[in-house]
Subunit: 255 residues, 2 copies
């Protein structure tokens, strides 16, 4: 009889504040399972790992670093994914439970879904569990004292890379727009928000929950400035504007 596979668990840690680790994630971290955690380069600091370290947990012996490079080079990415999945599958095949540390929520713009899929291609019978967590945008809304959405409203979350045309269009249909990874697009977005009179309705949040978290309400002040990769913007149109659109047909509205 072959040894049963270990279970693969995506453990969401929330976006940075160690207080936002859930009780279930905490138990999984302390369960004696093997830890694996992502880095963008070999030997580099892992942001996910830094969250649990700030929570006061020490990294158990045998924790494994997996490299997920930030590159658009398809070949390099493929190779990295194959290595990561192979390493994970090998640990699971030993019968070890493996917890994969994920910043934010494991189902929301995270690598865990893809990792689990690639691992399943190798070990079709492996048991995969996801422990959900607090998303960066929920934490950003809380940090700024803003609402993401109230009863009957609409919310869209998109990577800023979709471009100002797409953002401009979505601003018509949604009460709140969350723009992720604004770094390379920041000036263009600020111009758009100014053009549309939405600067006062916008807020920039960098590394939410980390010791160097930064909340900027005067987003125009960020023009030309360098910001961290872990940054997002919340745009929530003032109520009277939203009400006007709602009367005009809301999410269906075309320009």
């Amino acid at each position: 009889m072959t040894k049963p596979y270990g279970k693969l668990v995506g453990v969401s840690l929330g976006p940075g504040d160690p207080g936002l680790i859930t009780r279930r994630a905490w138990d999984a971290l302390c369960s004696g399972a093997r830890w694996i955690y992502p880095v963008s380069r070999a030997g580099e600091k892992s942001y996910a790992l830094s969250i649990v370290e700030r929570a006061g947990l020490s990294v158990p012996a045998g924790a494994v670093e997996l490299v997920f490079p930030m590159t658009r080079d398809a070949l390099a990415l493929d190779e990295a994914w194959m290595l990561a999945a192979g390493r994970t599958a090998a640990l699971l095949a030993e019968g070890t439970d493996v917890v994969f540390l994920v910043e934010g929520d494991a189902s929301t713009f995270a690598t865990f879904g893809h990792l689990a899929r690639v691992v399943r291609e190798r070990l079709p019978d492996v048991n995969v569990e996801t422990i959900p967590g607090v998303s960066s945008f929920a934490a950003a809304a809380a940090a700024t004292g803003r609402t993401l959405a109230e009863e009957g409203e609409t919310l869209a979350v998109i990577p800023a890379a979709y471009g100002v045309g797409a953002i401009d269009h979505l601003l018509d249909g949604f009460d709140t727009l969350v723009l992720l990874k604004v770094k390379p697009m920041l000036d263009e977005i600020i111009d758009l928000l100014e053009r549309r009179g939405l600067l006062a309705d916008s807020c920039f949040i960098e590394k939410v929950g980390a010791p160097d978290e930064r909340v900027v309400h005067d987003v125009a002040s960020l023009r030309g400035k360098a910001v961290n990769y872990l940054s997002l913007m919340l745009v929530r149109r003032a109520e009277h504007q939203r009400n006007e659109d709602r009367r005009a047909g809301s999410a269906r509205k075309e320009r």
Copy 2:
């Protein structure tokens, strides 16, 4: 000198699984602050309270129930809100810290934002804090083993009440669509998903994380059936469809 106001804290409890309460929320619950919790009718069971009870916490003496009726009667709603805000403000004015128990995330389709605003109208200097939490849709994605969004994708979250026309339109532009409060619209939505060939890409989740959680992958089987108010649907279009749209211009695409 007047006594300083207590602090108003929105404590997100996650959508139902007591394991999804964060460490910070747990500390706030155990801080000795006064608890207030929402019910939809006087003396009725509070869903938020049931989560902390299932977590093994006992309700402290002096916990206060606030009634937020489920009605469209503007006068009744206004009156209920005024009562709730008045009661909260009175407690805060005594110098007591008050934690308001919120199911899911306090910034995401919750009553807390509005309550805080109305309380602030009475006590402009009051200190308000929000402890973010796991949203129902993040937990639903985890429970079904689905991804809400992967790198470079788009996500929209809307109340199903926007109607099938709006949903139909948004399905063109978004990789994943979360439909909240599907109960009164369920049959219409199922018809739309069938028409668009999206039944296999859809999933229904009721009371996620509660002991009577229900996940239905065969959503067509729900036609004509009664479902709970706390239910949502995830619609995630198959990758090949999304890729086709992406090539055609993605979120910008118009029909």
